[in-house]
Amino acid sequence: MNNLYEVLEICLQDIEQGADIDTVLFRYPELADELRPILEASANAKNLAIPAPSVEVVRRNRTRVLQHAAQLRQAKVKPSRRIWFASLRRVAVTLVVIAALFISGTNLVRAASTTLPGDNLYPVKRTWEDVLLLFTFNSQQREALEVEHENERHHELRELFAEGRSEDVDFSGMVTSQNGNEWVVAGVPVVISAQTELRDAPIVIGSAVRVKGETRGDGIVLAERIRLLDSDAKLPDLDDDHDDEDKGHEGENEQEGDNSGKGSGDEEPKVEETEEPDSDSEQEDESSNSGSDSSNSGSGSEDNDNSGSSDDDNSRDSGDDNSHDSGDDSGGSNSGSGGDGAEDDD
């Protein structure tokens, strides 16, 4: 059978070369009958062959194929360009927004940093402080920041007093004097009224409190609410301020009573200052204070400890003298501590 297929192929090749069917079959008489119809069929099959397409057909379909290629090219390029442009635009817009926010935010915070309560940008200042606290994770740094913020509240108070402005304020500090409705909290005279909300009782001298109230032109704060703070609450570090301001004045406290009234002796003198108007002598003060004596004396001793270096020399001299000296100092300083304190700062 393979021979038949081979002979057919030879015959086809011969016919391709120009031979006719009879001629090629003459060489294979034993297969002629079988091959003849096959070779005739091959002639018919060959007659079906189609000539090359016309130029018009070629041109028409060439255009179609090239147009499709152009579409593919566009589809290939467009998305990548579009994505690239879109992503570039997104990045650019983001950068611009970030830059605008950063610049405006920085300027805003900078502008707000010197504002006082009641100013339009003051909320920005307080918010920025909260943000700083929020992102300060180191506990020591956080505490230092809280103290710094409390110091800033007192600085704002002094500014308001100096400008004679009446604004809502809040600040914290230790109660250093309680004379009826007139308290002194961290060196700031606070007036208690009937409307003052005193939820946490009892508040005694030495208690850490937060005062919310309104400044008055005469240098006092009219309290709206006084809240007792925890023992570990961060209070303003007034000693530092004082040290900074009164460097070189140590040892001159007695001579420069007005200046020394603030600072290390700040709290102690005020305790006695409020008492002094009633009586010049300390003993009389104690007797007149009656119920609050113990706390006063207690706080007095604490105050001595706290008052620090300015009174250390005095305490070395004698205990009695110390009390007198400090009393005298406080007398001098006290007289100025309310108003002078503010004036000194100015």
Partner: protein, 211 residues
């Protein structure tokens, strides 16, 4: 002054791509290097490369398709569609790996089979005017037309594989070796298939003639 027409440039490009041009039934001499360059041009959708490939192969592809289906318009559409498929396949990295012409003819065969399947479901009588003009008289031309219609009807009765081998061998004029390469069969198998296809065609001609 020497001027180059667009066709001259294209011809040069094609020659650069494929070496010598191919005549009908000639064995393609495209080297593997040229094939790779052609495929690179296709991948980058280079118009010049695409045009060169089209010019090189369209005629062969069209003749194969037109041989298998007796419809000029459909053959034209299918032939250009084969090149569109080539572009899309190359973009998807599914194009020809070894032989560009082999891929085109195989794709054309699949496209024709699909077309014939659709046509089988919805048969359409097609009249074609593109019969070969051998310069014969009107009578002989009519006879030739009738004869061709008869053969085409018989051819349409063959299996797809038989049609395929006859289209390659007698429509395209490929050698047994080249046909074997396209069919991915050995030469003896192609010779046997060719024999059976011709025998079947002759039988079908007889049957159609009898009817």
């Amino acid at each position: 002054m020497i001027t180059f027409t667009r066709n001259d440039i294209l011809k040069t490009y094609v020659q650069n791509f494929f070496g010598s041009t191919l005549g009908r039934g000639a064995v393609q001499t495209t080297s593997a290097y040229d094939e790779r360059r052609a495929l690179d041009g296709l991948r980058s959708l280079d118009s010049q490369a695409i045009g060169a490939i089209y010019d090189q192969y369209f005629s062969e592809v069209y003749r194969y398709i037109r041989y298998r289906i007796n419809d000029d318009t459909a053959a034209e559409d299918i032939a250009s569609d084969v090149f569109v498929r080539l572009l899309e396949a190359v973009q998807k990295r599914q194009g020809p790996q070894s032989s560009l012409k082999g891929w085109l003819i195989a794709t054309a065969a699949h496209a024709v089979n699909d077309h014939l399947r659709r046509q089988y479901r919805r048969p359409v009588e097609v009249l074609s005017d593109s019969l070969p003009d051998h310069g014969a008289s009107v009578h002989s031309e009519v006879d030739a037309r009738e004869r061709n219609r008869l053969v085409q009807s018989a051819y349409a009765q063959l299996t797809a594989e038989q049609q395929h081998v006859l289209a390659l061998r007698f429509g395209q004029g490929y050698s047994v070796e080249e046909t074997a390469a396209h069919l991915k069969k050995n030469i003896n198998a192609v010779k046997a298939l060719q024999f059976r296809a011709l025998a079947s065609l002759q039988r079908q001609i007889g049957e159609v003639n009898y009817e």
